[in-house]
Amino acid sequence: MRCLRMKVARNVTRNIIVAALAAILLFPLILLLLFSILDGETMEQLLASFGSRFADSAPFRWKVDVSSYVHVAAESRKFAAALLNSFQYSLITTFGQLLLALPAAIALSVFKVKGRRLIVTMYMILMMMPFQVTMVPTFLTLYYLDLLDSPWAIILPQWFVPFSVILLYLYMIRIPSELHEAAQVDGAGTVRLIRHIVIPLVKHGLWSVGLLHFIDSWNMIEQPIVFLSSMERMPLSIFIRQSLERNAAEMFVPAVLFVLPILIIYGMYHRSIISGLLISFTGGGGTVSGQTPDHGVQGFSGWGMPKDDVDGRSRLGMTKREVDVHTRLGVPFDGVHGPSRSALEEGACR
């Protein structure tokens, strides 16, 4: 009984710590949301007197003002144009990039074209370069193609960024070559091979790389500044900066609306993003040296169903509710979310 009480007490403090840490980590975001719904005067007061909450006793009047949301979202034409631009750039670049990167990655990983070491090395180096290094070369090409200040100025360079190729390549070299070889022995031609073997295996990777790129391109600031000049073509990220420079109070609502799609995407697809990243770089959540992919990925989300772990102990019989109950009580069941207690500790507490 003592052991159980200890576990519950420990869990409570742990939860408090976790909640506090989460609040701290999300503080800037919370601040942003807060400021976007507050009235201008309230904001000033808040900024000036936050610290004095402890000293003064004057009640603090909060005036919530959501009318600015309506104004920006529904009426501001510039905002709508900028939002549309952002969507346009992010969607078109993501689709195009995947469409171009997938065959390239297949060629490099499955078919192992000649010169693949050189190309992969080159792509990796290019991928790590800060934008400013490749800024001038790209600018010159766009200049000579007379594409500056058009959507293509953003879209075309993004289509050929090596990021997707490398991520897909790292993803696909995990696929055992025996698979392709077996298919080829069975007489599969190239097209067949790709359509029926490679693509189903890679779908997950494609999806998560696409999501990653979308999120990244949504954030794009440096490219529009250099390659575009007219305000109509600017994406929302730049629009927000301009709003900030004009009048700081104006930037909060567009900023929140800008974050919203990202939060939605994250909420819906975070598992894909995480597992795709992990598989590319660490082979599934194991060590970076590519050893046994383990229950790392399932452990992250906290909502994964318990699976057989490497020792062959099956927990398929436990429903999610049972898992929750066990967790809340602090009863250990190691292996699912990582070895929570060793056999020694369990023995000591029985």
Binding site: L25, F35, G51, L156, I173, L277, T282, G296, G302, G330
Partner: protein
């Protein structure tokens, strides 16, 4: 199957590699024919030296913090958090949030009558500090860096630690090893690949933090925040092509060397046969 690779490679050539090659040729073109005068000029350029020193200093501060904190968080989560790693979501959300939206919040926190100053004044009686200029600049910048980039390293260490065998640690416990001994002699050596990977990742994240610095400070930041990208950007605005191409070439060589070394060291992981 070169036809599969060709479209992408062609684009890379057109938009990146060929013009970059042209840039290198330009950088070698001086008033008196071909030579390295532009490079000599560059290394004597005060702004370039400042930027290089700042970039390296920032990296020296952020990378150990990144590795240390992410490892600590991952190990803590591994040992203590059983209900899934829910804390990871705030961290990962911070990674996904666009800079344009969130950077101003940091200004609000750290400006002269910002909350941080008000707190330290009311709470500890300290005078208002200037967090946005001078050496204290590192506090907001490093905070932003950690907030944004801790997510992925935590994953890496968490996954790595998960995949270590329990029996190993039990054996150590049986032999009487303390928690610290287990950490130092088991965890750290076994996680060396992860540590190295995170260190490299952190180094390259330093280049990405420029975006935040730009949104916060603009093209001409305070002295301590003047990074190599600010230098390149300003040369671009001035259309100082010789300096710009030389600096870009120097950076490309430096970064290229690092990446190439890493790839060679991990040959087997990247080119399985």
């Amino acid at each position: 199957m070169w036809s599969l690779l060709l479209p992408h490679l062609a684009g890379v050539m057109v938009f990146y590699l060929l013009p970059f090659g042209w840039g290198i040729v330009q950088s070698l073109r001086t008033a008196s024919g071909f030579g390295l005068a532009n490079y000599a000029h560059l290394f004597r350029n005060e702004a370039f030296r400042l930027a290089a020193v700042n970039t390296l200093t920032l990296a020296l501060v952020t990378v150990p913090l990144l590795v240390g904190l992410s490892m600590a968080a991952a190990l803590y989560a591994h040992r203590h958090l059983k209900s899934g790693f829910l804390l990871l979501h705030p961290v990962l959300i911070n990674f996904a949030i666009p800079t344009a939206s969130i950077a101003y919040m940091w200004t609000i926190l750290f400006e002269d009558f910002g909350w941080v100053n008000v707190w330290i004044h009311r709470g500890f009686g300290l005078p208002h500090q200037n967090w946005l200029d001078g050496a204290l600049l590192y506090v907001p910048i490093v905070s932003i860096f950690l907030f944004k980039y801790l997510a992925f390293p935590i994953f890496i260490f968490f996954g790595g630690r998960q995949s270590l065998s329990v029996e190993l640690y039990e054996a150590a416990s049986i032999d009487g090893a303390s928690a610290f001994k287990k950490f130092w002699h088991l965890t750290v050596p076994l996680l060396k690949p992860e540590i190295l990977f995170t260190a490299v990742l952190g180094f390259f994240y330093n280049f990405k933090i420029y975006k935040e610095a730009y949104v916060l400070f603009g093209a001409y930041p305070p002295k301590e925040a003047y990074l190599i990208q600010h230098f390149l950007n300003n040369q671009f605005q001035k259309v100082a092509l010789d300096t710009l191409t030389a600096a870009a070439a120097v950076m490309a060589v430096a970064i290229g060397a690092v990446i190439y070394g890493l790839i060679r060291a991990n040959r087997s992981a990247y080119f399985p046969s």
